[in-house]
Every structure is written in structure tokens, then in C-alpha cells.
Symmetry: D2
Subunit: 366 residues, 4 copies
């Protein structure tokens, strides 16, 4: 019961990295929505490896096969199921990993949880590859929210290692900017940062190492009054989704941790009227107050840890012999997962937002 | 459906700040547990205002009345319901607030969500006072986890404004230290920090302002292999609970956002054998890998924004006239909510942990 | 996690028969609804014992105390919590029951489930008294559905032992008829049946025995297209609620079990136009087809077993000695629970219907 | 959100009758279980059409393709996903059905619910064919419960039209009997009933009509103390599952509706000691008291309505013209769905039972 999420929109992700395929069942998506399959493909392509010289050389083609719920590109109201076949899965000797868990991977915890029966080839169900079905679900939700509610969801690489982009202007984010970001291989607000980021990643790769990063995501156009206090706060809902993305270790809204260092007089968002609607002059709370949307842009940042698979030698424990061993992970790995994470973070946020909208407005969210 | 949480342990919080009372129903708590009512009272006292010279002068006595589920101090297996009567509720003219929402409070979002019908006196259901029932639930869970599973949960004030305590040693945290922290009015690892923290709060108060802070919480003694991948990761479960605590705007595990600035070779936690059990040499991941516990201390930090109620003059919008107005919030308010938040954060974590344990081990979690 | 139910409307029932009180938390009820407290009181009175000469002589006054969620008779949107104090609870020597479980009561199963720690006084959390909070919740939902959606929910005693009322006309049920039935102590369609029913109950009582019965409930005015296929069918939702009412052992929709004996040509409900709207000529399916409402009256029948508490001598097992014993249950008991069950069945159906409406139409179900 | 079910074991069914395929995701199934694939195939074969001369002549081969969660016949702990490709789907002119809904089918309600966008070919997601994935899930659960907990689940055709088998002996049901029943094309306790049942079905078919029936299902070997009071009673859980099976219109436990006609002195199940364990002398309550298992056989009966698709001429409404029309449904249909329903009912019960066991005993249900 770890791979099913949602209240009105249930998302159930399945698959293992080296099994027949991976996929997702999306139950509760409104009927009659004409899907933009090109958009969905583009979103999947954003996540796929091999997009840029900075990511892993592996090539996967994430071609989703629609098993149900979409007929002639239109949702039927039945659960949508798509399957992405696994190709390129040369299952070398993964057995060794059972005894010698890779540091900061799920090898040891997965083994403990599933008593040694989990499929460890390629990370099994823990693989980052499992984010592909989530991106499919997210693309569908994003498309719906855009065309039915004029909500746009986009993100950029906020930082990689020590190299930083500038932050979103929390108060005013242009829809076109978010769409532009969705189309970039290296989504950045300030392209002057690109060189420094590229350098940071290249350096890590050269040193057989990896590096972490932060994604900043914005939701523009949400109505005010969505969400609930306490356990079903918009923050709770979005965070619980984001923390299901492998490698996310931090989530903050608005100014987040920086708020802890601020005074109330700086942090409070004062109301004003703007073109006849209620807005706040600042948006330190990231569009959510009391767990409920204010109508301002929703801002969320997710910290992505460095890829745990590195080429450098590491020590680990051989669980069979009880002795420490030196481990050198072979193969091509992303030196920085964060570079490919933007579309995944957006997807997680989009799924959470549509779930909230279905609760607020009913089956059809109209 | 915002105030009910949980999978095997359902927690349903009710109440409004100026109504008859507030409370909680806890469904699914194991039967036959002999509760330490003194411990529960002490935990409630930790949250109550008036503990220190730094908190609000208001006095509330949070005396829980047990309505069901506990007989002669022993849980019966039926839903546990407690009610804390509201006293000291001079409902002055709160009506003004309907038209003039306080910045960064729930006044405007609550009004929008509930179409003007929410009880705004004292913040209604959005009041920080609603954390008292959560503390009751958390104290019960903490007590159970301690006595049945030798799990200890404790926290300290990590920072207030610019003033910082030192961080937990992520690898080795003493049970006794956590118990000691639970007993302190100003729980700190390094008492040299106390003066600076006091100074920061006093200064804010003097300037009719408020200040934020960060709480760092540790869970020591958890078994390895608890939790699930993806949507039900330990991070997802704990974060969704923490984000239900009013004023929390950031949550991170292990080194959290700092991981984004690190190399994989630094961030990876390598395995070793220690006294015959599998441990990691470092604990940058905060005791969770692949969404599942490693058996190392679980480390989580929550950013608490500055109290939005400040004595200083602020501008806001009069929703009726459509004109901006000056607002000066009267009354006694905590200059720094973070100071009272430690026990609330621990409670949220404790409830999430027991829910996870019930899933792992069944009804009685034994 | 046995006493919490619902998707968008969460109902959490608490209490034990001889504890401080019983009650319910209702989370997700629309804000701004002005409650008809007189109606709610009348509904509670319908369930209370002592209404008729046929029920137990015990007197309980089910006066709900509103703890939260209703201000000046209007719902605030926050969780509604009411508490009904327990009075008249002379806890005699219930301890004997621990060793000597009453046949067809929860004594043995409750003891096994809760390892001997459940509060057995008066049945504890298993007591039929726990239906009072459910009636409160149901009355609120019924009132809302009536005034906002012109839905009326009513029921009658379909049979008691061998004595039978006539069945509802499945196709056409008058709203006024349902309201009339809500006001009767012995709700019957055909008052000629009253004497036979009274006789059956009196005879059982005289013989220190009890007797079962069937309640037939109708929902008139529901929109077509409510509900979902498969696991969230309207039948699944209503049945799961009804089976939480103690003593219910059978639930059927439309002609129910009789359909099993019929031909398709008789059982099929053919469509026609009636005053411009789509109706069926017959309604053998009880207003639900494919799990979704047709717009015709929803018809459900619940079988209520005979009161297990009877004055007659029965054999049972002494769990301590391992010997069989003779048991004679003292005290005043209803010879026929079914007589008081109508309002409880209606309440269960009303809660399920509002939950379905909230899913279909959103937070406010408007 | 209609096609996902469960608390610890989440079952998510997808597919439409004439789409690419149908299937199920099963999340939370214990890891390390070595599946008996032959048993699963036999169970799927029991449901498949064409088994007996009494069922539809259509031939479908329900060959599940395992997409994830099972590796070398052993469960990995990851979500299990299987897909059954749709073959033999000559999609004739189903468009006509949009305008002319078949009586007692989901055509009209599905159209209303999904605003005309549901896939109506072959019934789409409402098709009885969707029970095949449920049978897969059920077979897996049945196999687990048998080998890990010595629980056996079996059923027989209790009645077809007026023709009846004899009922289970509620107190003592042999495991071998249940296994024998699983292997019969026409599972009956009393084979003298076979001729009458065959005659009833043949007669209906000859008259271009259909007929209903009742399935009686038993669970033998369940521990006592499983389940919870109120909303999560064993009856609630099983009934909510059973009512997701298309055509089920009644569900009763133990003597069910017959209890309504009985006296308490007849209906009460008195305790005794049998081979050192607590048993009841009778089992009118069908193994469940207070919502919790007694350890006696769990007995549940489901009423299956006659196949709504009949060859006979029926009237219906043309939704476009607003005129009544004569309708004659073409094609080969089962004259009695009940004949193929036994394995589906068992599957629904098995899934519910494993979910209950996981709650009681934890992740691995051991």
C-alpha cells in the first residue's frame, strides 16, 4: 500500500525497472477530456535520459501504451491505465548487490522490508524510472488544469551544488515564462547561471562523483479557497506527493526555511486590491495560508540529493560475510538527478492540485 | 475532510478556539495499554502558554476530559476521545476581522473556503490552540512507542531568527538526551545559545514584532524496514502530518536542503557493522532510504514562520469597502511560536510513527 | 480504525455505553447550513428507548451537546462534534460477563479482539447506544439533502417476525409519505399490519424472548448519475454503512434476493419519458444500475436480527472454568430492536448519500 | 475513484471490454510468496465463458500477462500488475446504444455519469469481463490464505430461479468439500439439484430470457478476533467488495434475512468447548458477531440478478427522439450469470479477508 495515492483522483503506480514494464492507473480523472498526446510525449521526453550531454548516456524510449480509459484521445471516465515497456534491460549480475548494499540506495532497506524478495535489478520498484508513469499522470493533470482552469505549472533549476539560478518573483509569475521553462532542457530563469551549473555537473562527473540540486516549482492561476485546514492542508497534500519522488529530502513553501530567520513584519503578506481582485503585496507564504490557497502563485521548492550511484570507490558492508568491502559502482549514471527532476516535481504538484480541485468542485472539476 | 488523518491509526481533531471545547478522537490505538497520565499532562503543559517569560501571558489550563476509550488509565481498544474545555474566551468584537483580514492569517482564506461562515473568534478551527489535542494524541503514541518498542522521540530549538543551537549528532543520539530535552522549557543542545535566543525573542517583542525558528526532531530506536516506497514513504507520512501544524512552512529530513549543495561522495551513508547490527557511518539521509527506515535515528527539521499576529501597524484590505486600511492587532501574542512548537512537532512525528508501526506489525503493534 | 467512515464526509463515532459520553465528529460537512435543531431532536427521540410500550422501559435522554462546528445553529465548516453524556449507567457487576459471554453478543469477539481490555459495561463501544451519534449525523445530512437537493429519506417496518407490512411502491413514492413515516412511532404503510406486529412483539416479550424484523428505506429525489462503478458503487457505499449498524445481517437493493428467482424479462427496468424526464417503468433495481443512480427511488432493505439479550435461560461457556453454564440475562431489553431501527437505517443511508453528493458536486454540494 | 479498494491491500482494477486490455494492480501483497500459477489459471478458467453448455458460446482466453510484482513466480513486495489482453472484440455498431439504452444495463447511468464519454462497446468498464482481474487478485489471496493461514474459501450455487441446492451446514464445513466445489463446473452440494437447475437455465435460454440465482460462500479456518466494530465490521468490508460485482443486488450473512423472522432463542449462537477451542453450537450469525470473527465458518450469500441482456423484445426509450422503441439485443449471452459467479464471489471475499488479515497481523500477515 505504498504506491497508491489520492482522495478523489487515485494514482496507482506499478512496475519494476527490469520487469515487463512500468505504468500507472489513474482513477477518477474527469470524462470527456480531449488529451493533448503531443504535450504528454514532450513531458515524458523531458524526463527521459539522454536529453542533454549532462545526463546519462542510456537511451530509453518512454512510449506509453494506453491500456484503458482513453478512447480516440478522449478520456472515458474509466480508470486510465498506461504501460511503458521496459527495453534495454541487460540484467547483469545484480545478485551481488543483495549481499553488498550500495550506500544511500534502497538496497538494504528494501531487502529488510521485503525480506530479501524485492527485485533488485536496476533498483526494482525503487528505481527513478518509476517516475515516468508519474510524469504521464502529471502531464494529463497539467493539461486539464491548463485548459479547464487556466492554471499553469512550471519549474526551474534553482540550484545545483553551489551554483544558483535566481528565484521566482513570488508575486508575479508570467504564464508564458512557465511554458517557456517547460520547453528547456536546462530550465533556468537566468541563463547566465547556465555555465556555472554546467561546470559544476561536469566537474562532479569528471571526478566520478555526483551533485545535488533544488527545483523551484510554481503554480499560477489557482483559485483562492482551495484546500482544507490541518491534515489536508495544501502543503500536506503537495508535500506527501513530493516526498514520494526518490531523492527528495526537503520541501518548503514560499520562503520556507528562510522564514525561520525573519521577522513577522517582513514575512506577513499584506492584502491589497489589484484589478478588482484580492492579492497580497508579498507572497512569503507561497500562496497558501492556513492550509488553503490565497489565489497567489503557489511556490514550492524540493531539495534533491546527489545521485547515490557514483563511480568512486566507496566502502560498504557485505551482509553475508559481515566484513566491510570496497565498492565501485559500474555503469553510466546521471551525475545530477536534479537536472531531470523538474518535470517530475511539476507532475507531483499537478496530480496533487487536480485532486484538490476534484474535492472542491466535484467529479468533473468544472 | 481536513481534520482526519491516518491509515491504521485515525486521528480526528475537532474544535474551535472560542467554542465549547477542542479535542480529538483516536481510532485504532492498541487495547490494554496502561497510560502514563502524568506524562501526558507534562506534555500538554509543555505546549501551554505561560510556561516561560518569553511566551504569551495568557493562561490556559489544558485539562483533558476523557470521554471514551480509556478506563482506569488503560486503553480499551475503542476510539479514545478527549475534550479540552475552552475557558478564558472573551469574545470581543471579532466581527471586524471578517471585513479586515489579518495578514498571513487564515482570515481571508478561511472566509473564502467556508463562504464567510467559519467561526473567526480566536482563529476558530485554524487556531494554534488546536495543536493541544494533537499533543495529547502524540503523548499517548510517544508513551506507547517508548514502552513497547524502546523508541524515543525528542527535539530541540535548532534556531530562532539568526540565533542557532548546534545540530543533533545525526549518527548517535542518546535516549537520555531526548528525555532531558522533553523536560526543558527552552530545549537546547548547547545552552550557550540560550542567551542569544532569548535576546532575539525579547528584541522582537520589544519592537512589537515576532520571529521565526526551526525545530529539529529525532526518533531514536526505530526498527529498520518500516515504511514503504513512493507515496507512503516515511518522509511522505511524517511530512503530511507536520504540514498540518499551523505555521510550518518547511520540512527536511537528514541534511535536507544542505544535501542539494553536496557531492554524492559526501552525502552517501556507508554501511558498517556495529555491535553486531547494520549501521551507517554517517546519517545524511536522516534514517530513511528509499522511503524506508534504516534503523538509524530519524532526523526531521520543521521551519516555523514568525507569529503572524504582531503589535506593529500593518496595512491590509477592507474587503467591504475595497480600501486599504491600517491594522494594529491588539492582545498578547507569542513573539515566537517556535518556542512552544517542539512538543507539537514531536507529537506529529509520534502519531505518524505509530501509524507506521501498526501497519508493519498489526492491530497491537507488538 | 473501525469507527471512522467516509470519503468526503468523514464520520468518526466515539464512546462507550457506560463511559462519560458518546458522540461523533463529522468532518467535511458544508459550511453555512442553518440546522433545524428541532428536527434533529425529533430524530434522536425516534431512536431513544421508551417511545412506545413495545420498547424497553429504560429512559435515556439523548441531549446532544455541541462542542464544535455549529455556531448559532449554522455550520461553520469546521468538524462538527457533538457529545451525548451517559446518564443512568448503574454499572452493576459486569465483570461476570468477561468469563461468561452472552450468546450472539460481542462479549467473546470483543474480548478476543481487544485481549480482554474492552469496556464491557453495557456493551461498551459495541452497544446499540452508539447508534445515537449516527442518528445525529444522519439527521443533519437528511436535513441538508432535503433543503438543498429536495431529497427525502424515509423508511417503514417491513416485517417483524412473520408479520408483514406491505412493500413500498418502488416506482412512485410520495415525499409526504416519507415525512409522515418519520413522525410515526410505528412507521407502517398499511396500518392494518399494526395489530399483528404488536401481537408478535408482545408474544415474544411475554415468552422472555425477542424477535427480528426488516426495515425498508427509500430515498426519493436523488439525481441520476451519482456514484461510480465497481468498488464505489452506490450499493457498496450504502451497504458498508448499513453493516456498521449492530444487528444488521442482510442488505438488499430493489427486489434484492427476490431478483434471484426472477426472469430477466420481469426484472429489467425499461426506460420511458415521464414529464420530460427519463424514468423506468418498473424499479426492480432499486434506483441503481451499474452502481450509479438512475434517478428513480433508491430502495434498500436491512434485516435486523432478534435482540440477542433475552430473559430466557440459555447455555453458554464459562471461559475460565471451561464448563458450560446456564445464563439468564437480567434487565429490561427491547424485545424487537427493529422497531427502533428505522431512524438508524435512514441515518446510515443519509450519511452515505451526502458523501456521494459531496464527491459529485464538491465541498459545498450545491 | 470507483475502481480502487482496500485499506492495507489496495486493489485497483482497470480496463474496458473492447480496449487494449483489462487488469489489476494489487498493492500491499506480502513479499516472498511463491504463487501457484496453475491454481490461478484454473480460477480464471472457472470464470471464463464457454466452460459449460449452459454459458455463452463466446470464447475468451484469460491469459494474464504479469507486468510487475512477481519474479520467478514469487511476489517481490512491489505492486503486482497483471494485464489480460482483449481479443475477440468485434466492435459492431455500438453507437446505436448511446441513443437507445438497454434496460437494466449501465448504458443510461454510465452515459449520465460520464456525460456521454464512456466507452460503451461491450459495456466498457461496466462489463462483467472486468471481474476477471478481480478473480486473479482473489486467487492470489485465496492461495495465500490457504497456505499461510489454513483458510479455505469456497462456494456453491445456492439457487437458480426456483431451483435450489441445499444450504451449507453452517457449523461444520469440510475444507475438502470447499476444494471439491472449486473444481466443479456447476458447484453444488446436492447433485440431485443439478437437473432442475439445468432445466431452469435451458428453459430460460429457449425462451430468449435469462434467470437469476444466489451464490453461497463459506470461509473456513479464520481466526477469531479479526475485524472491528462499526464501520469496519467484517460484514461492511465483505459487503462493500461484493456489491462491486456487477449484478449483485443482495448480500446476507449467516441466516441473513431469515433471522428477521426468527426468535432470539433460536437465533442466538451459544458457546461451547470443542476440542479445546471455543465454538458456537449453531452459527446463525455466519461467523461474525459485533463485526468481528468468532472463528466459526463465515457464511455469506449474494443474490445475482438475471442477465439483463435477453433476446426477447423489450421496450426502451430513444434518448434522441424521446420516443419509445422496441429493442432486441443480438448476440450470445449467458442465460444465467450466477452460474459463472461463484469464483467471482469467492475472489471478492478472499480479497476482503486478506485485507483484514494484513490489518490484524501487519505487512507480512504472518
Amino acid at each position: 500500500m505504498g504506491s497508491t495515492w489520492g482522495s478523489q483522483l487515485k494514482v496507482s503506480v506499478f512496475g519494476e525497472s527490469h520487469g515487463k514494464g512500468i505504468g500507472v492507473v489513474i482513477d477518477g480523472f474527469p470524462a470527456g477530456f480531449s488529451c493533448d498526446m503531443d504535450f504528454i510525449s514532450r513531458e515524458l521526453a523531458r524526463r527521459a535520459p539522454g536529453q542533454s550531454s549532462l545526463t546519462t548516456g542510456r537511451r530509453e524510449e518512454d512510449r506509453p501504451i494506453i491500456l484503458s480509459g482513453i478512447l480516440e484521445n478522449t478520456t472515458t471516465g474509466a480508470p486510465i491505465c498506461i504501460m511503458i515497456p521496459n527495453t534495454d534491460t541487460q540484467s547483469k549480475d545484480y545478485e551481488a548487490l543483495r549481499a553488498v548494499p550500495r550506500p544511500s540506495h534502497s538496497d538494504y532497506t528494501g531487502k529488510t522490508r521485503y525480506r530479501g524478495h524485492n527485485d533488485i535489478r536496476g533498483g526494482g520498484h525503487f528505481s527513478g524510472r518509476l517516475t515516468a508513469p508519474l510524469v504521464f499522470a502529471g502531464a494529463l493533470c497539467k493539461d486539464f488544469l491548463r485548459r479547464k482552469h487556466e492554471i499553469e505549472i512550471g519549474s526551474h533549476i534553482y540550484s545545483v551544488g553551489e551554483a544558483a539560478d535566481r528565484a521566482f518573483d513570488l508575486v508575479s509569475i508570467d504564464r508564458e515564462l512557465l511554458i517557456r521553462l517547460q520547453q528547456e532542457t536546462l530550465p533556468l530563469l537566468d541563463h547566465d547561471a547556465e555555465e556555472k551549473i554546467r561546470g559544476t555537473v561536469e566537474q562532479a562527473r569528471k571526478e566520478l562523483d555526483s551533485v545535488g540540486g533544488v527545483i523551484e516549482c510554481a503554480v499560477v492561476g489557482s483559485a483562492a479557497g482551495i484546500g482544507s485546514p490541518m491534515f489536508h492542508s495544501v502543503e500536506s497534500r503537495i508535500a506527501s506527493m513530493l516526498y514520494s519522488v526518490p531523492a527528495v529530502k526537503g520541501v518548503e513553501f514560499g520562503l520556507g526555511f528562510a522564514l525561520a530567520g525573519m521577522r513577522g513584519s517582513e514575512a506577513n503578506d499584506c492584502y491589497q486590491l489589484e484589478d478588482g481582485s484580492v492579492k497580497t503585496k508579498t507572497n512569503c507564504n507561497g500562496g497558501i495560508s492556513g492550509g488553503i490557497t490565497t489565489g497567489m502563485p503557489i511556490i514550492v521548492r524540493a531539495a534533491i540529493k546527489p545521485t547515490p550511484s557514483i563511480g568512486r570507490e566507496q566502502t560498504t558492508l557485505n551482509l553475508e560475510t559481515g566484513k566491510e568491502e570496497l565498492l565501485r559502482i559500474q555503469g553510466r549514471h546521471d551525475p545530477c538527478i536534479a537536472l531531470r527532476a523538474a518535470v517530475v516535481i511539476e507532475a507531483a504538484v499537478a496530480v496533487a492540485m487536480l485532486d484538490l480541485y476534484l474535492e472542491a468542485f466535484g467529479y468533473d472539476a468544472e
